[in-house]
């Protein structure tokens, strides 16, 4: 879609510093991790609608079938629930499937297999079987995605026991977390954000992993803690720059994975700042924002100097039209404004 490509291309990302090392695009980083995983372990397989077509799932699966064969890299029927179960069954028999989706919306068709089967097998089986399954999807935004192609469903899944949920924000993490997820023996969801696909960054060539369940402080600050993951980190960063100009020093925590959640890193930050804003790409109500805010008010209550706040999607479905969409998504300005309010009202 021309306008949309333009929109996404116009996103201002920091230019990566080539002195740090090799620079790769986000999809390329993912492609490299999938390639390494396929090469290193014959039980890894990559499947999903169109993974072997010329568009290659945003480029992330480019060349994989050619290099690793159709038995382990293949296109699937349009049967999300069935394929989720097929991946689960194959995983229990020793395979390590990476099941890829254009959009998280399509995973909703497979919630029975994901939630009532994959996440529970190891527990119900008393440890007899494991489900080393990775489910990958890129959250849609723009392109007129509308209500049925833009859902960010991590908030629905955060409470389900047995699942791990990963949301990278940089090409480096995308590669390292993908490899970690593939090696992990529990079913792990990776939610990318379509807009991050345009990002580039430093990505080492070697096989490396980023641990699941550990966040990272992306910016140190003393006044307010912003917690988030994935594309929300980009927005938080932009906001933090604006805020710095008016004397507010923000700490930005990139959770990297939202289940298990890195309580320690949040707690340590709150001890310093006493103020929490949670930002998420999903609905504000009942999801990631609510969970993190709750924990703050339970575990670090005495550290809190002001009410916890959140910025997620409003309690309405996504409009398809570009005009309305502009009023729908959080912006760096919203974030900056909210943080300012938090600092004013003591």
């Amino acid at each position: 879609m021309p306008w949309d490509e333009g929109l996404v291309n116009s996103l201002v990302y920091d230019e990566p510093d080539p002195d740090q090392g090799r620079v790769l695009s986000y999809p390329h980083a993912l492609n490299e991790s999938l390639d390494l995983a396929l090469s290193g372990d014959p039980s890894v397989m990559i499947l999903g609608q169109g993974v072997d077509d010329p568009s290659a799932m945003f480029g992330t699966t480019k060349g994989l079938r050619e290099r690793h064969g159709n038995a382990r890299v293949f296109d699937t029927p349009l049967s999300e629930e069935g394929m989720m179960g097929i991946c689960t069954g194959a995983a229990m028999r020793g395979m390590r499937p990476v099941y890829m989706h254009n959009r998280p919306d399509f995973i909703l068709l497979a919630f029975n297999q994901l939630i009532t089967h994959a996440s529970k097998c190891h527990f119900m089986d008393n440890g007899l079987n494991k489900v080393p399954l990775v489910v990958w999807a890129a959250i849609g935004r723009g392109w007129g995605s509308g209500a049925q192609h833009s859902q960010a469903i991590q908030g629905l899944l955060i409470g389900v026991p047995g699942l791990k949920i990963v949301m990278p924000s940089t090409p480096y993490d995308a590669k390292g977390l993908m490899l970690e997820a593939i090696y992990d023996n529990s079913p792990t969801l990776i939610f990318e954000h379509r807009w991050l696909m345009k990002k580039s960054g430093f990505v080492p060539e070697k096989k490396y992993t980023v641990p699941i369940g550990k966040g990272i402080v992306r910016r140190e600050g003393k006044d307010v803690t912003i917690v988030g993951a994935s594309h929300a980190i980009e927005l938080a960063f932009q906001a933090s720059k604006k805020l710095f100009e008016i004397g507010i020093d923000v700490e930005v925590i990139d959770l990297r994975t939202i289940q298990p959640l890195d309580d320690e890193i949040i707690g340590n930050s709150l001890k310093k700042t006493g103020r929490l804003l949670v930002v998420d790409t999903g609905w504000a109500i009942g999801g990631v924002c609510a969970e993190i805010g709750f924990r703050a008010a339970e575990k670090w209550f005495s550290d809190l100097k002001s009410p916890v706040r959140r910025i997620g999607l409003p309690d309405v479905p996504t409009p398809a039209g570009y005009g309305l969409e502009q009023f729908f998504y959080p912006t760096a300005d919203n974030i900056a404004e909210t943080v300012r309010e938090m600092c004013v009202k003591k």
Binding site: G50, D53, L78, D105, Y322
Partner: protein
């Protein structure tokens, strides 16, 4: 070339034309031509970036839209998937409302909230569509149930693609429709591809219509490039249903000449053979029918040119209308989350 045309063109139809009457035959052509020209204009303007919406063109698939919809009355209801343009226009949807929707304007058919995959116009029975593959199938089936319970005596038709049959809910919908003998036609446009995935990587070698039949629905395959075949088949199904036959499944083999989404063809990326597309273009539903009509002296060249001129004006007006229509406001966003 994986998928080749296996129909007979209009062979045999010469002798059966009286069945319809000339006006009707010409009207079918006019409708197809109109859809083709609208689609080409959308395609041509797409790079202007005023239509900030995905598009799924039906260029090459006009005979299915027009043939199937022409068998329906206004009180009959149409449902569709993501590939809505043909369904919407075939059922008589308002072109201005459609283009306003595609320009994200507040007077779009759903106020710019649904976008091009959600073109509906209840005034003419274009009832609903879903951007989720298979999503509209049970919803249409539920409409047929409502019609049956309320004794509304209309027919429901739902468009789906070959890919749509792979969703489990398609099987569930067929089963329920057959169980209750609902007044519904599942109209499957088998264009052999789902995005860039060929049928053979998604389904075993057997006709889709055979799969449908196993559900105990009436099922038939038809040449989807031939508007008269499509119309006749759909009309028979409609009549059958009115006589209590229960559901029909129609598989129309057809080809899209453009990319799955967006403007232009993408065969050059290699997922399908350019020759395959070219071979199907010889069966272009608009031109093959045009030639047939002309051969049989039902349509004259000048007549076609007049039609084109008329349609061009209509299209230009509609685009002007859409471009000059009002933008939605911020407060609109919070409307209609819950219903009163």
């Amino acid at each position: 070339m994986r998928y080749t045309y296996e129909g007979n063109g209009y062979k045999g139809w010469e002798k059966n034309l009286d069945f319809f009457g000339k006006d009707f035959l010409v009207e079918l052509f006019y409708k197809m031509l109109r859809i083709r020209m609208i689609e080409e204009e959308i395609e041509g303007r797409y790079h202007d970036d005023f239509m900030k919406t995905p598009i799924h063109l039906v260029i090459g698939q006009e005979a299915t839209a027009v043939g199937a919809c022409s068998a329906l009355k206004y009180s009959d209801l149409l449902y569709s998937g993501h590939r809505t343009h043909g369904a919407y226009l075939g059922k008589g949807g308002d072109l201005k409302k459609m283009l306003s929707e595609m320009h994200c304007k507040s007077n779009g058919c759903v106020g710019s909230r649904g976008g091009s995959m959600h073109l509906i116009d209840p005034d003419v029975g274009m009832a609903w569509s879903s951007a989720i593959v298979g999503g509209a199938l049970p919803i249409a089936t539920g409409a047929a149930l409502a019609s049956q319970v309320r004794k509304e005596n209309n027919v429901i038709m739902v468009f789906l693609g070959d890919g749509g049959t792979e969703e489990g809910v398609c099987s569930e919908s067929l089963n329920f429709a057959a169980l209750k003998k609902l007044p519904i036609i599942f109209f499957c446009e088998n264009n052999f591809y789902s995005v860039q995935s060929p049928l053979q990587t998604r389904q075993p070698k057997r006709d889709i219509v055979r799969w449908a039949e196993g559900h105990d629905v009436n099922a038939i395959a038809v040449d989807g490039t031939n508007v008269l075949d499509v119309y006749k088949t759909a009309r028979n199904a409609v009549e059958d249903i009115k006589n209590g036959s229960g559901p029909w499944f129609i598989e129309a083999k057809v080809y899209r000449f453009r990319a799955h989404g967006g403007a232009g063809d993408d065969s050059k990326t290699g997922y399908r053979d350019i020759k395959e597309r070219e071979a199907w273009e010889k069966q272009c539903p608009v031109n093959s029918y045009s030639s047939f009509l002309m051969r049989n002296n039902i349509l004259a060249n000048q007549q076609r040119l007049d039609m084109e001129r008329k349609i061009k004006i209509e299209i230009k007006d509609a685009f002007d209308f859409a471009l000059n229509s009002p933008e939605p406001q911020k407060t609109d966003l919070y409307q209609f989350v819950y219903a009163d």
